[in-house]
């Protein structure tokens, strides 16, 4: 029986703990300074918006941990003694036989003048939410800097409290470095429909002090000033490696790990946002700061620690998000710029709120990936199609199989198939629209 200590109670650390417990009898301790219990970081926005309370964001009831013999410890670790195998939390010492680092991310800050003023903040930790509660009380306008997923969530949060939002984006469109232009434009329009004052190709130059250490506005690189009492900095995150930066553990941007998620030191592993794979597979990135990757790494490292050494082999990439009212799902590779050897097939609904983009190889028509907006689609079906390297034609012909929208929703596959036939008159497919009866008695 080993003494396993997991640093970080986020999705990565907790998944590791749960799966070790399922498969082995080790002594397990999970440490975090942020919260007593595991909560869903992805749900932070909903607490602020009043959809849920903090309690609701805890995926397991509080009795769960004791029942499963997972010790929880609330503490900030300030030093690791690798020789003695001990963690230091102030005066307290916690020893380990194996250590899993799952310390998550830290929000980026790019050294803007005024970035430490009161009323300026990022959103990552639970404590940021309390801060945001105070920082946004009775304010007249907020500015958000950075067109990514957390930025748009912050915009939605503020919007839910009727706070006018000006949203600065460096790129031409929202999330322009990840989304192809058509999809990004669709989201731009939706944000504007909600009254978000979206400023593309606008960069922050400085944050202005009101003389009392409080933000009073911002200045853009074009010299425009915008009055505001709150600035949200959401310009991405980086792995939280503060604890091991100047230690024997090798780091680059993140904590470097091999295929088995082990660092250069035996019995020390790193998973989740803080980990950087030395040799990622061709279809995945070295650092993937998403919920799903953290969970899968947790499962994998648990298997290793339970005595079955297992290499981390994530499958087809997938992701999802929601931009105000528009849901987004992604399977496979859909980069912002269509690769040289590929083409894209794009369909957009006339309401401007739903679209589908498929990237396929020019020669073979093999599909690389899909983006779906406003239509729910089956992960399992896409995972099969992509791993079996199905062609565009095969997939479009079978598209209704992937539909995951609720009953009675209008089905768009027929229109998509029509569009396909218009674009590829040489190898048309038959248009199939399953009726509602077929769905009810499927």
């Amino acid at each position: 029986m080993k003494k396993i200590v997991i640093l970080g109670n986020g999705i990565a650390g907790i998944t590791a703990a749960r799966h070790i417990r399922k498969n082995a009898d080790h002594h397990i301790t999970v440490i975090s300074g942020e919260s007593d219990h595991f909560f869903s970081r992805t749900a932070l926005m909903y607490i602020y918006m009043g959809h849920m309370k903090y309690e609701h964001t805890k995926p397991y009831e509080d009795w769960f941990w004791e029942k499963n013999k997972i010790n929880l410890k609330r503490a900030w670790i300030d030093r690791i003694d690798f020789d003695q195998k001990v963690l230091h939390a102030g005066e307290e010492r916690i020893s380990y036989d194996a250590l899993i680092l799952a310390t998550g991310s830290q929000p980026n800050k790019f050294g803007w003048p005024g970035q430490d003023l009161q009323g300026v903040q990022s959103l990552y930790h639970l404590q940021d939410l309390e801060l945001m509660e105070q920082n946004t009380r009775n304010i007249r306008r907020a500015v958000i800097v950075g067109g990514g997923l957390i930025g748009v969530e912050m915009a939605e949060m503020l919007h839910s409290r009727n706070i006018p939002v000006t949203y600065l984006i460096r790129e031409e469109h929202f999330w322009g470095n990840m989304l192809p232009k058509e999809e990004a434009t669709l989201i731009d329009n939706h944000l504007r429909e909600h009254g978000i004052d979206l400023r593309s190709q606008t960069e922050l130059k400085a944050i202005l002090d009101d003389g009392n250490g409080q933000v009073k506005g911002i200045e853009t690189k074009d010299g425009e000033t915008i009055d505001c009492e709150f600035v949200g900095l959401t310009v991405g995150v980086h792995p939280n490696i503060a604890l091991v930066k100047d230690s024997p553990v090798e780091t680059d941007k993140g904590i470097l790990v091999d295929d088995y998620l082990q660092t250069n030191i035996e019995d020390i592993f790193a998973i989740g946002d803080c980990a950087q794979l030395r040799t990622p597979q061709s279809h995945r990135r070295a650092i993937e700061a998403v919920w799903y990757a953290g969970r899968m790494m947790g499962e994998t490292v648990a298997s290793t620690l339970a005595g079955k050494p297992t290499a981390y082999r994530p499958g087809i990439w997938f992701n999802s998000a929601k931009f105000f009212d528009i849901e987004y799902q992604n399977y496979g590779q859909v980069p912002a710029e269509c690769p040289e050897d590929c083409d894209d097939f794009y369909w957009q609904c006339i309401d401007g709120k739903k679209c589908l983009k498929i990237i396929y190889e020019k020669d073979s028509f093999k599909v690389r990936g899909v983006n779906l907006f406003g239509i729910r689609s089956r992960h399992e079906v896409w995972d099969n199609w992509l791993s079996q390297e199905k062609t565009l034609q095969e997939i479009i012909a079978d598209l209704p199989k992937a539909n995951f929208d609720p009953e009675f929703f209008k089905q768009w596959e027929g229109e998509i198939q029509k569009k396909y036939n218009e674009e590829f008159p040489n190898h048309p497919i038959s248009i199939r629209k399953p009726g509602i009866l077929k769905r009810l008695f499927a």
Partner: protein
């Protein structure tokens, strides 16, 4: 737009205030003449000495009038019981009819005007408040902003106030209907409209208010969930069934001299279906009565298993049922208050199945008495020991006072979840023999908790979703709200092949475990 909303709110609050004020609006005077017309000959002599002190006296409040009257009757009964003169004890419920006759004031002189001021103005106000939301609240989509900041939706003072009023109303309705005589009179114009020879009763008042609530709050639901056709169709369905099947058709049947019958209600929710008086009514009402009897039995004996097999219990609980209809419309603002803990689930299973067992035993006893003509089993009266306690504890206290009164405190499906014997029966079928399940979408769940929070049945949907397991739960009423609120498109209500319904949990996306060295 905002001005319209606030005017609407003001109108609605005016109507609500007027309705509450009407409780106090009449005076009550019992005259000897009135006494003579309302009380049966054989009781007049007994009662007269006791109530004589009330003659000509004017009461300002129904409660004191009713209490004086009832204690007079009780005094007579006490005396007769002491004398063991059982046949002279008065069982007639005089309170309602005498109070109604003794009422005087605006409620009698201006009934129609007051009705318009309360219900017509009230619904206009409510609609003025609700309809602009389609514009004001932004594009269609999930509208849960601020729910846990709101004192009505989050057990704040408003929630407690509304809950208290509802509980008081239900107690009055079931046990002290004479207290709310003014309100019963208020809806008489509608009763006369549907059936000119009828007179409104407390149950007509209840049916009317119930339907009113379902329709007005149904409109709210339609606006709130206008982006989801599933929710729209479902809401229209419960509004339709409440208005026609539950409210209008039974009244029209009465007008046509047929038995009062709600064709969509069924045993064991309709627990008096097998009561002797009900069976006698149906069997003595010709062809239609017999049809009703056969229909009622077929519905629960054949309809339930067949429909639940194909669609899950949702076909009834969130598309047809009246209790479900109220929960899904008037109750929607409270769905997030249901308890999701494992402990609550345990209590739920014991309670709801316990009530089902109770209902079956009660019905068996009642039927035994009906067929054998013997009122007792093993010396115990089936009425006193089975039928009466069931009606009191389950029919009145549980389904009414607790079931609806606790909406703002424990969520909108307290009755459906913990008490409804029909839900228990539907649930057993759904759990073991049905094509219905909620499927989860591969590995897309982010454990945010919206689904569990907004599940009115207190199902911890996330527990299943985050491990990639189908949700097959007896209690799921298929409201589809978990699927609606999920921000990642993870959940879908589906009727599919039974194979794979209880499949192993699977999260797609991680191929690591297959590559062990």
């Amino acid at each position: 737009m905002k001005a319209i909303r606030y005017t609407g709110l003001a109108l609605f609050l005016f109507s609500l205030g007027l309705l509450l004020a009407l409780f106090f609006a009449s005076s009550y005077t019992l005259t000897e003449q009135l006494f003579n017309t309302q009380v049966k000959k054989e009781h007049q002599e007994l009662l007269r000495p006791e109530v004589a002190s009330m003659f000509g006296k004017t009461y300002g409040l129904s409660i004191s009038f009713v209490n004086s009257l009832n204690s007079a009757i009780e005094r007579v009964n006490d005396k007769k019981r002491a004398e063991q003169a059982w046949d002279q004890v008065i069982y007639d419920d005089y309170a309602g009819s005498i109070t109604r006759a003794a009422t005087s004031g605006v409620i009698k002189t201006h009934t129609t005007l007051l009705f318009i001021l309360v219900f017509v103005v009230g619904s206009i106000g409510a609609l003025m408040y609700l309809l602009p939301q389609a514009q004001l609240a932004g594009p269609p989509g999930i509208k849960n902003n601020g729910i846990f900041h709101n004192s009505l939706n989050n057990r704040g003072w408003m929630g407690i106030l509304v809950g208290t009023l509802l509980i008081l109303f239900y107690i009055a309705l079931y046990f002290f209907d004479a207290y709310i005589t003014n309100w019963i009179i208020l809806v008489d114009p509608v009763q006369k409209l549907i059936n000119p020879s009828g007179q409104s009763s407390q149950w007509f008042l209840y049916g009317f208010l119930y339907t009113f609530a379902v329709l007005v709050m149904g409109v709210r639901m339609l606006i709130k969930y206008r982006h989801s056709k599933y929710q729209v169709f479902r809401t229209i369905s419960v509004m339709f069934f409440q208005l026609s099947f539950a409210f209008l058709i039974p009244e029209i049947l009465v007008r046509l001299n047929q038995p009062y019958f709600d064709f969509k209600n069924m045993w064991p929710l309709d627990y008096d279906f097998f009561d002797a008086w009900h069976l006698n009514t149906l069997t003595s009402s010709g062809g239609l009565g017999l049809f009703m009897l056969v229909w009622g039995i077929t519905l629960f004996a054949v309809g339930v298993p067949v429909f639940v097999y194909f669609f899950g219990k949702r076909w009834y609980c969130s598309w047809v049922c009246g209790c479900g209809g109220l929960a899904e419309t008037a109750g929607d603002p409270f769905r997030q208050l249901s308890d999701k803990s494992l402990k609550a689930w345990k209590i739920e299973r014991w309670l709801v199945h316990g009530v089902l067992v109770f209902a079956v035993i009660m019905t068996a006893g009642v039927l035994y008495s009906f067929f054998t003509g013997s009122d007792t089993i093993a010396g115990l009266s089936t009425y006193t020991w089975l039928r009466q306690p069931y009606g009191f504890f389950i029919g009145a206290i549980f389904s009414g006072v607790v079931g609806t009164g606790f909406y703002p405190l424990m969520g909108n499906r307290v009755w459906c979840r913990f008490g409804c014997p029909l839900a228990a029966y539907l649930g057993i079928v759904q759990r073991f023999k049905s094509r219905f399940r909620i499927t989860t979408n591969g590995g897309q769940c982010i454990s945010c908790g919206n689904c569990s929070t907004y599940c009115e049945m207190g199902i911890d949907v996330r527990w299943y979703a985050q491990r990639g397991q189908n949700i097959v739960r007896a209690s799921c009423v298929g409201c589809g709200v978990c699927s609606s609120v999920c921000p990642r498109g993870v959940l879908n209500l589906e009727n599919r092949d039974e194979d794979g319904r209880f499949g192993k949990p699977i999260l797609i996306g991680n191929n690591s475990s297959t590559l062990q060295k």
